[in-house]
Symmetry: C2
Subunit: 202 residues, 2 copies
């Protein structure tokens, strides 16, 4: 990706990617159309294809880098830190991501629902390696009796599920809670309670 050069090119590329994120995250790869992306970006369709060679290329540009951002908080979980603090702050950071980047979360969810046709490899290698590594850390903490025992990998799944839910199912969450609620603030408190009880050494 050595595309963007001038300031205007960089700016337009960004505009396009932002519009594409909006559309892809809502309708999935096949459901998204260049017309719609162009419309949201405020550019003409041929102009889109001046900046990116194809629809696929726009989608790929969005996906690449997404997993990295997504996994940064997990990467930062410190084996030498205080177990409960490390896990709680991971949960907190993951929830913040869901709140601040819901479209990225939904883009990822769409890719998973489709069977991860474009991320299979990276998931089976990079993601898997990182999870294995951090699961070993969790296992050690459990063996030392510093947190309660549970399946380390499924514990990580639980954190993903509980935090992403607030981005991916945002409509449902808000519809059920009704007006006058701050879903993410409440979720923060709720999840902290849940994980404190879950992890408290037996």
């Amino acid at each position: 990706m050595t595309r963007p050069q001038s300031r205007i090119q960089l700016k337009n590329s960004q505009t396009i990617l932002d519009a594409a994120l909006e559309v892809f995250s809502q309708h999935g790869y096949r459901g998204a159309t260049l017309d719609q992306i162009a419309d949201v970006a405020g550019l003409s369709k041929p102009n889109l294809l001046y900046y990116f060679p194809s629809k696929e290329a726009i989608h790929t540009a969005l996906l690449s880098g997404l997993l990295d951002t997504w996994l940064d908080p997990l990467r930062d979980m410190d084996p030498d830190g205080e177990p409960l603090d490390e896990i709680l702050s991971y949960v907190r950071r993951k929830l913040d991501l869901a709140r601040d980047f819901p479209r990225e979360s939904r883009l990822f969810a769409n890719e998973m629902l489709q069977g991860a046709p474009r991320m299979r490899t990276v998931i089976e290698t990079d993601l898997r390696d990182l999870v294995d590594q951090k699961a070993r850390v969790l296992q050690i903490w459990m063996d030392q009796g510093r947190i309660a025992r549970s399946h380390p990998v499924h514990l990580i799944f639980s954190i993903w599920a509980l935090t992403q839910h607030y981005a991916d199912f945002d409509v449902q969450v808000r519809a059920v809670l009704g007006p006058g609620h701050d879903p993410f603030a409440e979720a923060g408190d709720h999840l902290e309670t849940l994980f404190r009880r879950m992890l408290f050494p037996a």
Copy 2:
């Protein structure tokens, strides 16, 4: 929907709905094509449209009834039962649904990701009413000190998130776990542990 009459009509309608479920759940409404559905069903495209008047009609037929099936386990949570048993068996039944009907789960997830354009009303009324009602039951149990305190509605969200995750992110779960694992069996144990600790009266 008074369409199916003869045996063959009923059978073909079912074949079509099954194929449509396969395609819609993977690609979302707009990403799904009649060609693909016809192909999976082993029928011609015009034949599809002999049984259903339009693409939209097929999708609607799938969605109607979905929420009911999905909420049945919650509906069955008995206010007069033993709180922990009731909640744990709700979790168990929800996980069984995710295991046995992953396509239905993904169809629902797709609808949510799109902003629930076709289920908004039913979510804001039926779903919300049921959750409110069951949240009150949970609240009473908490007030009686029979389960630990937490936000009742978010507790229900947590159950949904943790169980649906295994259907919707199935690819990711299997890729991370690697071969030789039974995700749903492990999840069953893990979630029982998690909720037992979460709900144990303080």
